[in-house]
Symmetry: C2
Subunit: 326 residues, 2 copies
DNA sequence: GTGAAAGCGCTAACAA
DNA sequence: TTGTTAGCGCTTTCAC
């Protein structure tokens, strides 16, 4: 039988209010504290979070809504979020929206009645309408309105860096390969930053923008790459896309970094111990997770206003670009 | 202001008990049902899970304890677990134990007072001592005692298949590359199955077993591979290890599948859409997740006895083994 | 500094 | 079939 606060109070010969005070770190007489702690120990008492939550309307739980945990970028993000939350005594609800706006909203609804203290979300649909303003919400990589906090990597800067690094390595015919989503998102900024630096340097830049969700990727990629053999530098919207491009190029008998150079985006790693897969613009995922949790905590604990956090990115020299000449 | 059951009862002009019945699907008069539903709609009423949990001692929440979500195998597993649980109206607590027995136990403790309905765990320490027998627990890939359910892939079979496939492809000097953990686990069976098939066929088999946690992997791998140049077939304990072996072999100027052949284990994919990385023994992760959730549900809902589930594995022909001659 | 008591929103037993 | 009511285990006034 699980011990309750009443049992503890009885054994320690105090009132339940006093036990509650001890649990919550409210000052009591040293002697009383001792007695209560001994009783807690003896009975292996653990406060019931549900009874507590019913009273206080707090749950020490954050919901994390992701497109899918089955992707190294989101998995790493979730890893860091969990790590920081657990350090602060918070639990994590994991929610895979699975690319469906419907499931995103279902989760929002579910999570509301689950009494979570806040939501951290990488979401693609128009979620802001469903967020009540009193539930702290931190959006990753997506800017809604002034009412909603967001944390994002500096995508525009990333595009700029990618262009500059390719140019510095001798590329003179650049291209961008990405997708267009029905929902506005930050990846457009990657393209814009890239494009502008190309223009400033008078470098021609071709663009392949595929409509998402992307069907028959290879059938779109192959003719584009075949018809534009002059391309010697590629920036792709993310690392996975870059892997696909590399695969198609291999079929065409071209190999990076000798025959062309390519830079991805994200800085995906298969696990903590493994390295980046290719040359890429690295998003500092751990920092983003830290910023998200800090922002969340500020909103929950100090009732602070929503914040906007933009975090710089950096270039990682992998095996798909040449060493830079100095 | 959030609506409570009392508000709904008042608006519908019924008692709270009736509202509760409607919510819980207990039969009431059609007319009454209508009235209550209209009031629920009108007030946008959502039952408070905490009040409900306090009363019923159920939470509709399962804890998933993993070494780390930041690994494609665990991420895929978590993905499928979440998917199936959410379909059944359950929520998922994500817990990264991070390779520490301490953190595993902390989570067990935390989760107990969080009133989860059950725990699904891929754990490495001696967790069984801390599991009270009344909390449903499903262990993945690890067999504790008769009191505890487990779901595992058929690791022994996987080892056998790996040996047979290598032999069928003309390999005559095999080796196994893996690690030894201080905690007993199922990977030993992979090795045993492999080893036995080699013996039965009179094929010599070298073994490199590194002590976990593995330090300076390359410094152990390189001399072993260099000193045993006759090796033409390798089975490694998992896909990541295989990638490391492939990396070192590349340095030594040897390439799969022409210079040697290698088979991994796990069937890791970077994401749902992407393919397996190498030739490998595929664990049917989705099936394992399904079996785990089904077992959990049977224990929670029907109070069934613990179960033992072993699921077959299969070979995937990737680019690190030759086509089989027929 | 501490105990007594009200009540958070719900379920389930009981009575009608 | 339905309404009334007693708590689930805790926090938090309010007196003392």
């Amino acid at each position: 039988m699980k011990a309750t606060m009443k049992d503890v109070a009885a054994l320690a010969e105090v009132g339940v209010g006093t036990v509650s005070r001890v649990i919550n770190g409210v000052k009591v007489k040293d002697k009383t504290y001792e007695k209560v702690m001994r009783a807690i120990e003896e009975l292996d008492y653990k406060p019931d979070e549900y009874a507590r939550g019913l009273k206080t309307n707090r749950s020490n739980t954050i919901a994390l809504i992701l497109p899918t945990i089955w992707h190294p970028f989101f998995a790493e993000f979730a890893y860091h979020i969990e790590e920081r939350l657990s350090r602060k005594g918070y639990r994590l609800f994991l929610c895979n929206a699975d690319g469906s706006a419907e499931k995103e909203n279902e989760y929002i609804e579910m999570v509301k009645q689950s009494k979570v203290d806040g939501i951290i979300g990488i979401t693609y649909s128009d979620i802001d309408k469903y967020i009540s303003s009193d539930l702290p919400f931190v959006s990753i990589d997506r800017h809604f309105s002034e009412q909603i906090s967001y944390v994002t990597a500096d995508n525009y800067l990333g595009g700029q860096i990618a262009a500059q690094e390719l140019i510095d390595r001798g590329c003179r015919n650049l291209c961008y390969i990405g997708g267009v989503s029905p929902f506005p998102n930050e990846t457009n900024n990657r393209k814009a930053g890239y494009y502008n630096v190309c223009k400033e340097n008078g470098i021609p830049v071709k663009v392949l923008d595929m409509v998402e969700p992307i069907q028959e990727l290879e059938q779109q990629l192959e003719p584009f790459l075949k018809n534009n053999p002059e391309i010697d530098g590629i920036f792709s919207v993310n690392d996975f896309m870059a892997l696909d491009v590399i695969g198609v190029m291999k079929k065409l008998g071209r190999k990076a970094p000798d025959d062309y150079q390519i830079i991805g985006f994200d800085g995906v790693k298969l696990s903590k111990e493994r390295d980046y897969l290719i040359s890429t613009i690295v998003q500092p995922i751990e920092e983003m997770a830290r910023a998200s949790v800090d922002t969340m905590m500020a909103m929950i604990l100090k009732k602070e206003e929503p914040k906007r956090v933009v975090i710089p990115v950096s270039f990682y020299q992998g095996e798909t670009t040449k060493e830079k000449n100095r």
